[in-house]
Amino acid sequence: MRLDCDILIVGSGAAGGVLAATLSELTSRRIILVEKGGHYTSAFFNQREWDMNVLYADRGARSTTDGAVPIRGGECVGGGTTVNYALAFEPVAAVWDRWKRERGLTGFSFDRSADDYGVAGLNMASCLAEVRARLHVEEVSDAAVNDNNRLLERGCRALGLSSKRFSLNMRDCLGCGFCTEGCAYDRKQGTLVTYVPDAIGRGVRLIHHCDVQRLDFERRAGGLQAVGAHAHVRETEAGSQPNSVEAGDLQIRAQLVIVCAGSIESPVLLQRSGHPDPHGVVGRGLILHPGLPIVGIMDAPLTNYRGITGSIYSDHFYSSHGFYYECLFGHPVYGSVVLPFVGGDHFDLMRQYPRIAGFGVMLVDTASRANRVEWHPRTGQRRILYQLSEGDRGRLRFAARTGVEIMFAAGAREVLLPSSETIGPLPTPRFRRAEEAIHCASLTFAPHQTTLSSSHCQATLKMGEDPATSVVDSRGRSHHVRDLVVCDSSVFPESCGANPMLSIMTLARYQGRRIAAELGR
């Protein structure tokens, strides 16, 4: 089957959903939005972790190639915004300003009066305000903070550390605790219930279950030009909304191709399509925001997975050490994989479930060329290779130590890290007293000995004005292929400095408005 359009958007998550809605709002172009995953809605979401793995990349089993770091990512209509905790951190202006200085980026003004690229009112501040309004971003009320979050707040206060309440993209949350299984009540305002329906209502054609095999590049006027894609549409799985095309091979011709497949799949798609890479930068410098859970065993049962899962965080150490403490909690399937040990030792931990408190360190990791996503033409396999740098390990040790101290200050009887490392006199990081937290200085975070996890991949197709160090320019345009734009977390030159959803959506709104202005109606 062959389809023609003006704009092809690959991926319907935080970036693709916003772009489809913005471009259909501001232009009359024919737009096709393709999504690898299915189109599942609230009537399908049943709050079972295992049943809902259809919403995740690799059915929730995606990880670094050594299996050491699980990398969760939404793969369904709405992408990560369908399965995340609705944490709406604003873009960190200081980070974007640094990128502008260091990488020569143009635009991205945070001044509300700026007209970037000569487009009236185009700036990051106005785009953020538009996104916040559409997503209904609001700070959690104090009354909605559950026991587990209250413990992080209490522990921070006892140690003289600041803590804050999250803002969420939520409308009247019921507090069921199943954000990561898709919101069964349509209270979470991801692109699934906001921008994607907006786009469809304006005539955008959504094709889900669509594997884009390669982007099509043609040599024209001495250079490569993107002209569409070859894809395969799978049979629609049970529970999904019906598709707009039959299953089978699909060729889509387009004037402009926008890749929004996220920081793992976007570089793989470019590599698979033969995108030039003369400086070896495609897929390089992967950022994961490694997360380290701090687990407390309390004396009495508490509300942990019920209520709003994440309402309290601390950015006390963000400026000095580059990490956050964020309160979150998992259900038993994920929890059983994250908690250490096997056999009776593991089961004894799982039996503590109602008395477990948990928050996590989210480390803003530093980019290294060797951390990368690569695709092997011979085997057709994708590899995700990642190791913490020594500097990042040092910051994570400090974060672990202070995290353990916070948990004790919150009243924990016992604190443990998901780790089987021997540290100092402790056979494993299982602490009976706050004074023992000092032994975190011996943690190595070796793979499969200490569990780290990730949900925030970034920076694999970096933007910059120098083709030797970047894949796309400030407009997201490929340095090597005309009419090819990348717009998702992969274009961040490094960590965006916070949970990335709002940064990605603001970027997408910004690029969408700019593209619309440059295309004309």
Binding site: C176, S336, R351, Y353
Partner: protein, 185 residues
């Protein structure tokens, strides 16, 4: 010979079933009467959730299960993933040859210590006692080779996911679960 065959071909289910049974027992609290399901029930669920025989993504896992059975081959398996490990070491500016030698030495030490603990016992995983099976599984976690670690993590996760997605297990850990019925529409 048996392992060489496993590397080349798609092993039959009977070629790895006993190993899988052993791994399920080693990961679960098989010796505990307060765990609400039996290893056999978890294994049956695992085979329902993960179609090892039908899904080609599990072919490498099947082959590794066959090799896993030969506990005395643990230290000899480095070449299976040597290329990937060495290439990644070079990417990070490390001396790949020295690193590989150190990793092999570490695997050899782990294997020797394990063999000493067995005494004259048979080196087949499926015939070991439960604690010996756990100790052998742990060698794969402690190895420095990426694909051995990956096997450990995958095998452990398959068992954990199979067990803790069983609703009958939830009361034993005090998890009161979803608010919605399983079928909603």
């Amino acid at each position: 010979m048996r392992s060489a065959y496993a590397l080349l071909s798609d092993p039959p289910f009977t070629g790895y079933q006993a190993v899988l049974t052993g791994i399920v027992r080693a990961v679960l609290p098989a010796e505990r009467s307060d765990f609400p399901v039996t290893p056999a029930q978890v294994e049956a669920r695992l085979l329902r959730l993960f179609e090892l025989e039908r899904d080609p993504r599990f072919l490498a896992l099947q082959k590794t299960l066959v090799i896993f059975e030969q506990t005395d081959l643990f230290a000899e398996l480095a070449p299976v993933d040597a290329e990937l490990t060495a290439r990644d070491a070079r990417e990070r500016g490390l001396d790949a040859a020295a690193l590989m030698a150190a990793l092999r030495r570490q695997d050899r030490e782990l294997a020797d210590a394990f063999a000493r603990s067995l005494g004259d016992g048979a080196p087949r995983f499926s015939t070991l006692r439960l604690e010996e099976q756990r100790a052998y599984l742990d060698l794969w976690r402690r190895s420095g080779f990426l694909l051995k670690q990956q096997f450990y993590a995958s095998a452990r996760a398959l068992v954990m996911i199979s067990a803790y997605s069983m609703e009958v297990v939830w009361p034993a850990i005090g998890y009161d679960g979803p608010l919605l019925p399983r079928r909603r529409t």
